[in-house]
């Protein structure tokens, strides 16, 4: 190649740069990464539509329907949302394959609300290396709030540790001399709760907790554990279990005529899957916490947010069972993303998406309990940290007390 040729290339490219620099100033506000254009924003998602966790698939369907509604109403800042969701069947290798497809083939702007702790762990390193937002992951593990090491990953729901801290706070206030028995599932789910609970009790953990009992998820029944716990003379039961075992615990305690102050996790608050099989008579007075409204609860019939939600479900997901919490969850998560993308304006770079996601101030979704607000910052990647305590009465949960936050921690 001759030097004159090179010179010409240099001249042309200089001219081009100059043109872009000057001519571009007219629309300097518009900035895009791959996945965003003047007309479209591509949002990727991974969801277990099949396999062992397919019950959660409804969340993905709700989100797809939500963005359909957004598009029917003109999109976000004039851009349509193209929601691409794949089925990983709750299998980490499949999640990696699909995430790579989303990033490298579909070229999405963000990967939004991928579900499952194992699947998210599998794709976290990849997405952070690629600098693609892994936004509002659908799992309650505490590890998603780690902006220092994973600046491209952010949670959404209250994490298990925070929730357990709130129970600890409640106990310290209401029953400081409680003799606490802790029952937990022997995996990361149960251990997260125990960790948060002990941290919440602080110095009093040693004196208050009289026994810790764990069970394996493979055990067909945990009745024997309940008998053992009762024999320790505990008067408070922290029930860090998944739905099936929560139902067993409530039932067995009732049959033994044991009436401790009984707290179950937010995961196990389904009336249909836990309280009903356990028996409503045994479930009276059981405590838990919530951050979302219940779609089947009549107390929200005149709530403006839930009216919007209900109209949305009727129009876009006709025939759905409104007591399915996935419908509420998906709506809330999708609305949070909508808010973030609106805040991004015309600067739709991945960096700005993370920046805006980390600057949510007192944002409230239609489906969150009154007072449960989303707050994030550059050092706080845990959007929802507030819950409200509730007590089971009759055939439904009754909220009581104020919305409690776990933010006051070191």
């Amino acid at each position: 190649m001759s030097s004159r040729h090179q010179l010409r290339i240099a001249a042309i490219s200089t001219a081009l740069v100059a043109l872009v620099a000057t001519g571009g100033s007219a629309f300097a506000q518009k900035k895009y990464d791959s996945g965003a254009t003047d007309t479209e924003i591509k949002v990727g998602n991974i969801m277990p539509y099949s396999g062992p966790a397919s019950a959660y698939g409804i969340i993905g369907k709700t989100e797809a329907a939500y963005f359909q509604m957004i598009n029917d109403n003109g999109g976000i800042n004039g851009r349509k949302v193209n929601f691409i969701t794949y089925d990983d069947a709750y299998s980490p290798p499949k999640a990696v394959e699909h995430t790579r497809k989303l990033v490298e083939s579909d070229e999405v702007l963000v990967v939004f609300n991928p579900l499952g702790t194992p699947s998210n762990t599998a794709i976290q390193k990849y997405l952070n290396t690629k600098k693609v937002p892994q936004l509002f992951v659908a799992t309650g593990a505490a590890k998603w709030n780690d902006p220092k090491h994973f600046p491209w990953t952010m949670g959404w729901q209250p994490n298990y540790q925070d929730e357990a801290r709130i129970y600890a706070k409640y106990l310290l206030k209401e029953k400081p001399d409680a003799k606490v028995a802790v029952l937990y599932q022997n995996d990361d789910f149960g251990k997260d709760y125990v960790k948060g609970f002990k941290e919440g009790l602080g110095d009093k953990a040693k004196s208050m907790i009289v026994t810790e009992e764990s069970y394996e998820i493979s055990e067909p029944t945990i009745d024997s554990h309940i008998v053992k716990i009762k024999s320790t003379g505990a008067d408070t039961l922290m029930d860090f279990t998944t739905p099936k075992f929560a139902a067993q615990t409530i039932k067995k305690a009732g049959e033994l005529n044991w009436k401790p102050l009984h707290i179950v996790t937010n995961v196990s608050i389904s009336v249909g899957a836990v309280m009903k099989p356990a028996g409503f008579e045994y479930g009276q007075g059981v405590l838990s916490a919530a951050y979302l409204k219940d779609g089947a609860d009549s107390q929200w019939d005149n709530d403006p947010g839930m009216k919007k939600w209900s109209a949305f479900v009727d129009k876009y997901l006709p025939g759905s069972n409104k007591s399915d919490s996935g419908l509420v969850y998906g709506y809330g998560a999708a609305q949070t993303l909508q808010k973030v993308l609106e805040m991004c304006g015309d600067n739709l770079t991945r960096e700005n998406v993370m920046k805006q996601a980390a600057s949510l101030k007192d944002f409230q979704t239609d489906v969150a309990l009154p007072g449960v607000k989303i707050n994030t910052s550059a050092t706080d990647f845990a959007p929802i940290q507030q819950v409200q305590m509730m007590r089971f009465k009759g055939e439904k949960w009754e909220l009581f007390g104020d919305v409690i936050s776990s933010e006051a921690k070191d």
Binding site: T117, P118, D188
Partner: protein
Amino acid sequence: MSTIQETVAKTDAAAVDAPPKKSMALGRTTSLVMLVALLIVPLFVKNFVIFQLTMLLIYGIAVLALNILTGGSGQFSLGQSAFYAIGAYAAAILIEIGNVNYVLTLPIAGIICFAVGFLFGFPALRLSGVYLALATFALAVAMPQLLKLGVFEPWTGGVQGLVVTKPDAPFGLPISQDMWLYYFTLVVALVIYIASVNLLRSRSGRAMMAIRDNEIAASAMGVDISMYKTLAFGVSAGITGVAGALGAIAVQFVAPDSYTFQLAIALFLGMVVGGVGWLPGSLAGAAFIVFVPNIAEGISKGLSGAFFGVLLFLVIYLVPHGARQGAIYAETLLHKLRRS
């Protein structure tokens, strides 16, 4: 022995078809074309597709391992996912905790799995057919829970699994991690393929096939039945372990939920679709289990399982002998064309 093979092939009575010796591998020309295609394709596609092709090769190796067991020695296994998991965890633990070079983890994973498979082969001797399939199935069901046990947690990471670092291309080669891993996997796959074809053509391979075709006749001819049956189990498990190790490196993550019995079923499916006992079919079978679920999902999200079922049904109905039948058909067509 060859007479036994022929009669079985003619009567079609056995559950496992006995392929003639020659058709155990592809012809020379076809092999070369395939190899060239496998070498060239990655140069023209995105990294994501290269990753998919790597997974294709890895599942291909795992299906091949099952093919040696079922197609070679006539034993069924629905427990291959367990060996795959052991291989994957062995590699992940060695790389992340032991700081062992990833290349070295493959033979180690292979040896560990060979040992486990060989030992499992002994109780398996007493079982045959569907009973053996169920026993191995139990192994597949138990494995994910064993991996979650608290005792092993310092090494396995429990339910959280282990994140594995992806190796860079060595010697400063200017290719991406994905491409390097692909060619690395390709080399391993080729070595295993050639070794397997030779194994089945060797004395041991003939002994295994003799057992498959008629156990009593084989033992009457002096074949040590228990020895060769357990050997087949060991070899199959060892190769599956190598595939698992490669899988862990490619996916960069191991967790108990990655290795459920669904993986075992998928591998079994891959073997049937590829053609039982026909080693090159392993790659076609792997392609089926990697790509067809995606195609089914593309047709309908809500009914992806149903469409997968329909596609599977079509394959079984149209080509009951799997890819081998397709290959034979193509070959005869080619011959006809050449003659005319």
